[in-house]
Amino acid sequence: MSGVNLNKVVKSYGDLEIIHGIDLEVHDGEFLVLVGPSGCGKSTLLRMIAGLEEITDGTISIGDRIVNDVPAAQRNLSMVFQSYALYPHMTVRKNLAFGLGNLKMPKAEIAKRVAEAAKILQIEELLERKPRQLSGGQKQRVAIGRSIVREPELFLFDEPLSNLDAELRVQMRVELAGLYQRLGTTMIYVTHDQIEAMTLATRIVVLQAGRVEQVGTPFNLYNYPQNKFVATFIGSPKMNMIEGKVNNKGLDLPDFGQISLPATAPKSGAIHFGIRPEQFTIVKSGSAEGDATSTGEITLIEYLGSELFLYITLPSGHIVLVQASSQTQYKTGEQLTLSLTAKNAHYFGEDDLRIPLYDEKK
C-alpha cells in the first residue's frame, strides 16, 4: 500500500495561514497532479508530504503510517526538484548512488541499480561526468534517475520541467508518462502548466489560495468545472465568461440576447455564462443554427497551424475568443456572426459555483 492520505492539513507561518485544512486522498498507483496559479500552496503541500516542511495541523499518512513526525529520509519517497539539485561536486554515478550509500546498501546492489536506472533513462555514457558538463535535459534525466534508484513507494515532482525549453519539455513529458506506465508507482506532481497537468494526470487537484477547488480526472475538470475559477483555469485558451441576468423568460445575455433555461434554473439574479472558444459556431450567411447569435468584428487573429483563434469584439465592447478552422481565411476588421448553444455552455451562480443545468444531457 502506498497511497497518501491528507487529513485537514494546515500550514501556517506565524499568524499567516497559507494552507487551510486540505483533505485529499491519493490512491495507490495514481498519477496525481497538483495545479494552480503561483502562490496557491501547491509546492508547500508537496514539501509537507515530502517532510521538508512541518505540518501545523492535521495528519499526513503514507500507506498505513502517519508520517507527521517521520523524517523525510524515512518516508520511503523520492523527490525531483525544479532546480534538479544535483550535487555539483559529484559525478553522475555518485549522484545516483549517494542516497543508496546512505541506506548502507551493499556495493554490488548499488552498482546494479545505478546501471539499471542509467539504462532506463539513457544516461549510461554520462555516468562519469559532473553535473556542470550536462545540458538541461540531461540534468533532468539524472535528477529523475536519482529518484528511481531508490525504488521508493512514492515519487514527488516539484515543477520538474519548468526549466527546460519548450521542445524538450514536450519530450520529457512523454518520457515521464512512459516512466509512470513502466513503474506504476504513485506519483504526485506539481505544476503550474495545465497542459502538463492534463496530459500526465490520472487525476488533477486544482488549488487556489491554499484551498482545493476541485479534484477530478482531466475529462471531468474540463467538462464539468465545479466553479468559475476551475472553469477559467483549466483549458487553454481560457473559457469566455459572459455576465447574464436571469429574467422570467430565461437568461438575458449582452450581445446575444435571450436564451431559455430549463425549469431547474434559478429564477432571478445574475449568472456567469461560460463558453469555451471551440463551442462557438461561426454562422455562414443564411444558415442560422444555435440558440442565440451575435455579430462582431475580428480584432486579432492567432494562427497556430492546426487551429486558429479569433478575438472578436462584440457590439457591447466585450471581446470573446473563438476557435475556428485554420483552413478558412479570415481578415481583421471582418464582421462575423457567432452562434452558441445553451446546452454546451457552463453556468455559474453569483457564488461562482456551478449550476448543473444540462450536465446529465451531455
Binding site: 515530502a50 517532510g51 521538508l52 523525510a72 539539485a85 555539483p88 561536486h89 542516497g99 538541461g136
Partner: protein
C-alpha cells in the same frame, strides 16, 4: 568639390592610424612605468631584506647601495644555528601551532557557520549578534582577562592557549565569512540530501563542505599567515626558549647588551616567509576552482 582618389584616402587613413597607434603605445608605456614604480615602492622593503641577508653586518645600515660589496651566504647556515637553539626547533614549534590552528579554525568555524546558516535553534539571532559583536572588540582588550584565565588553568608556557581556542570557533571573522558563503549555496541541495537520508551532520560533511572549498581555502590561508607571523600571542604565553615560534626566535638576534647579528636576522626572516609563500601558492587554486562548481541549472 574635391574628390579623393582611393590611394589618397587610404594614405590619410593610414597616417591617422599611425598617430593613433603611437598615442596608444605612449599611453601603455606611461601606464606600465607608473605601475612598475608603484610596485617597486611596495616590494622595496622585501628587496632590501633579501639583499641585507647576504650583506656584511657593517654594510646593512652603513652603506646606501643595495648591492653588497661581498655576498655573505654564510649568514644562512650561521643564522640557523645562531641562537642558543637551532631554528629546527623553532620551525617545529611554529609548524605545530600553525597546522593545528589551521585545522582547528577551518573545522570549528565552518561547523559554527553551518549552524548559523542552516539550522534552526532558539536564540540563533541573539547568538549571531553576539558573535558579530566580538568582531568589534580589539584583541588587546581581551588579552589580560584571557591571560589570567589561561594562567588559572595552568596552560601558560604551553602551546594550548595558542591552539585550543582555534578548535572552539573563536574567530568571528571566519565564521561570518563562511555563513555568507553557505547562505548562497542553494537550499535545494540540503533538501535533496535530506531526502537521500542525510543527517544534518552528513549534509554539512558531504554536501556543504565540498562545495565551500573557496571559503575554506580563504580561512586556511589567512589563519596560516596570521598564526605563522603572530608575535604577540607567543610572546605572552611562551616563556621557555625551547617553545619559541619563529617570530619570537627572530627577536633574539637583537640583543641589548652585545652585538646584534642583523645579517643572520634577515637571513632567517627570509626563510620564515618561505612556508607562507608555499602555503599560499598551494591553496589559492582552490579559491579559483571553487567558483566553477555550481551544478544547478
Amino acid at each position: 568639390m574635391t574628390d579623393l582618389s582611393i590611394q589618397e584616402a587610404s594614405d590619410i587613413a593610414r597616417s591617422y592610424r599611425i598617430i593613433r597607434d603611437k598615442r596608444k603605445r605612449r599611453a601603455t608605456i606611461t601606464k606600465h612605468l607608473f605601475l612598475a614604480i608603484c610596485s617597486l615602492v611596495m616590494v622595496y622593503p622585501l628587496i632590501w631584506m633579501i639583499v641585507s641577508s647576504v650583506k656584511p653586518d657593517n654594510e646593512i645600515f652603513g652603506n646606501i647601495s643595495l648591492w653588497p660589496s661581498e655576498f655573505i651566504w654564510q649568514n644562512y647556515p650561521d643564522g640557523w644555528e645562531g641562537l642558543f637553539l637551532s631554528f629546527t626547533v623553532f620551525y617545529k614549534n611554529s609548524i605545530i601551532v600553525t597546522v593545528l590552528a589551521v585545522i582547528g579554525n577551518t573545522l570549528s568555524c565552518s561547523f559554527a557557520a553551518y549552524a548559523f546558516a542552516r539550522l534552526e535553534f532558539k536564540g540563533k539571532n541573539i547568538f549571531f549578534a553576539l558573535m558579530m559583536m566580538t568582531l568589534m572588540i580589539p584583541y588587546h582588550v581581551v588579552l589580560i582577562p584571557q591571560y589570567l584565565l589561561f594562567l588559572k588553568i595552568g596552560w601558560v608556557n604551553t602551546f594550548l592557549p595558542l591552539i585550543v581556542p582555534r578548535f572552539l570557533a573563536g574567530d568571528a571573522f571566519f565564521i561570518f565569512l563562511m555563513v555568507q558563503f553557505f547562505r548562497q549555496l542553494p537550499r535545494d541541495l540540503d533538501e535533496a540530501a535530506m531526502i537521500d537520508g542525510c543527517s544534518p551532520f552528513k549534509i554539512y560533511w558531504a554536501v556543504i563542505l565540498p562545495l565551500s572549498l573557496p571559503a575554506l581555502a580563504t580561512t586556511a590561508i589567512f589563519t596560516f599567515i596570521w598564526t605563522w607571523e603572530d608575535f604577540l600571542g607567543p610572546l605572552i604565553y611562551l616563556n621557555d626558549i625551547r617553545d619559541y615560534t619563529v617570530p619570537l626566535a627572530l627577536r633574539n638576534f637583537i640583543s641589548q647588551d652585545s652585538v646584534s647579528m642583523f645579517g643572520q636576522l634577515f637571513a632567517m626572516s627570509i626563510l620564515s616567509i618561505v612556508p607562507i609563500f608555499i602555503f599560499f601558492i598551494f591553496f589559492q587554486k582552490f579559491i579559483i576552482r571553487g567558483i566553477a562548481t555550481s551544478g544547478l541549472k
